[in-house]
């Protein structure tokens, strides 16, 4: 997919997350990176029709639940998703992960993200 098109589609997904989700706001930067990684990877897997469960732990089940809920909402809000190829979904979701890491952690102005303790 053309990069500009992929970025435009990624921006739609980012908009949805910014208006509806809370999992990206854990209070520490390292925690946010894990949340982004686990939830967006699983969302990508769900949207590509792949297995998104890694193990039987409650932690994995939690990330999977967020991903299922997010993938469902993406499909409801953006019908183009169901017509997008698996490769293109991977491209868009990878861009999304990069973008979320930037806005929520690397480019964030939140001074609490680097505190050591909760």
């Amino acid at each position: 997919m053309d990069k500009n098109v992929a970025e435009e589609k990624m921006a739609q997904l980012e908009w949805y997350i910014s208006k509806h989700c809370l999992w990206q706001y854990n209070s520490r930067g390292w925690d946010r990176l894990i949340q982004n990684e686990r939830i967006l990877t699983k969302t990508k897997q769900v949207l590509r029709g792949e297995n998104a469960k890694d193990d039987d732990t409650t932690a994995d089940r939690y990330y999977w639940s967020e991903a299922m809920s997010l993938a469902g909402a993406f499909k409801r809000y953006f019908p183009w998703i169901t017509e997008t190829s698996k490769d293109d979904i991977a491209q868009i979701l990878d861009l999304l992960k990069e973008r979320m890491d930037f806005t929520m952690v690397k480019g964030s102005l939140n001074q609490e993200l680097i505190k050591q303790q909760y």
Binding site: K19, L22, Y25, T57, T58, N110
Partner: protein, 540 residues
Amino acid sequence: MPYHQFKCSECIPERLQHAVDKGVDEDLTSALPLGYLNTIPGTISERGCAYCGAKHVIGTPMKNVIHLSHGPVGCTYDTWQTKRYISDDGNFQLKYTFASDVKESNVVFGAEKMLKKNIIEAFKAFPQIHNMNIYSTCATALIGDDINAVAEEVMEEMPGKKIFVCNSPGFAGPSQSGGHHKINLQFLNQWVGTGEPEIYSKYVINYIGEYNIQGDQEIMRDYFYRMGIQILATFTGNGRFDDLRCLHKAHLNVLECARSAEYICDELRVRYGIPRMDIDGFGFEATADSLRKIGYFFGIEDKAEQIIAEEYARWKPELDWYAARLQGVKMCLWPGGSKLWHWAHMLKTEIGINVVSVYTKFGHQGDMEKGVSRCEPGALAIDDPNELEGLEAMYELKPDLIMTGKRPGEVAKKIRVPYLNVHGYHNGPYKGFEGWVRLARDIYNCVYSPAHSLVHLDISKDEIPTDKGFVTRQMLSDVNLSDEIKNSTELRECTSDYDPIPRLRKKLEENLYTFPDPETGEWRQVPLEKLKKNKVVDVE
């Protein structure tokens, strides 16, 4: 950074970085005010103290507990009963407040002996209550009273009594938020892990950061019970002390107000491996998404979908009646710490409200990240505003109403801006589907109150119209509505009861809920006494 310069704060240059205007191309990497810093000298803040945050937000919603402030009587009395965190067993926590009543002589000679006497006296006066929370205050923290030692002594002398000591004096943090942090961790360290609960369902959650304001918890409890989920403990609204000792035994922490209670969730995740799931219980779509997520976690999505379908069918036509009449209404959404982000987007999409400003008194930058994300471009975001900034913003933005607490609300009324109390609520509960309709109704009644339109007349100079007679809210709200909406047979006004909580309690008494057995998975009723007072055994 698109900082907003308040004229009234030009003389306090540090205030500049506490307010931003969200522009069209702005995101969180370019527009975010500072937050959770000490209030700047010279500014009149609306914040509370760290003792107040610990006791009055998080401690006192716990039911069946004697809440005793160790300090001068003013600390407890002046801040008592500002919230309506009710309980389903008689509201002991609202009816009584206790203080050790520290005086000058105690400051000089110490107040420990007097505290011990007071603790025993309080337990004897209320023999049915076996738990106590003691809160330190500025005075007793400064004189160095060892409250923990006194509590230990009493617990030894009075077997069966349990005392939690909260060391969060007023100065222990920039605002009430410092107290939220302290009480979260101190309760966890002192009492969590000391009880073994009876598990009666395959699905077990803690409901965290929920304070049962006018029954919010009881609305959500109904949904969870309909899904067959056992709520081990609610931290802390309508929560029992004994249940809270068992927080470590849940499968999932469902977190509502992250501002006040994310700390305990994060620690429970680290220490006991319980995942933290943040939810929004306000708004139709947000509540539905939250129930769905919890449904996925336990593999009971179908149960969640069934509740969502039933609740939409019952309440959506009523929400839409108000939404049709509230399109474009301008609001300043100025709550304490978390409702700016819980509500901003749902108010816009489901009720048509134009949120022109969000503020937070004690939120951190994380709350502003959520708030700024969820409001629309053009909104003014303010951290820890002072009274003059609030006034300047209202004069500039000309909101149709503000949603805030009692103190700034009264200020707004003076300049003829109507306000809704979103701390203690006007006619809550506001949570869940039914609650959201109640909030829409309260907004509608506030904006279109015929009485309110009269306050804009100044009898010292305005001509008073004598030709106008009877006016109703609907005569005002329906002026520009299409006939299709006016005559709709689908839409209807709120039919929620004056107080919906007795209905929910009656339902609980009738014991209509079923839960899956943790071993066999068989769905069956659970004895009512377990639902109301689960068995907890002491463990070392």
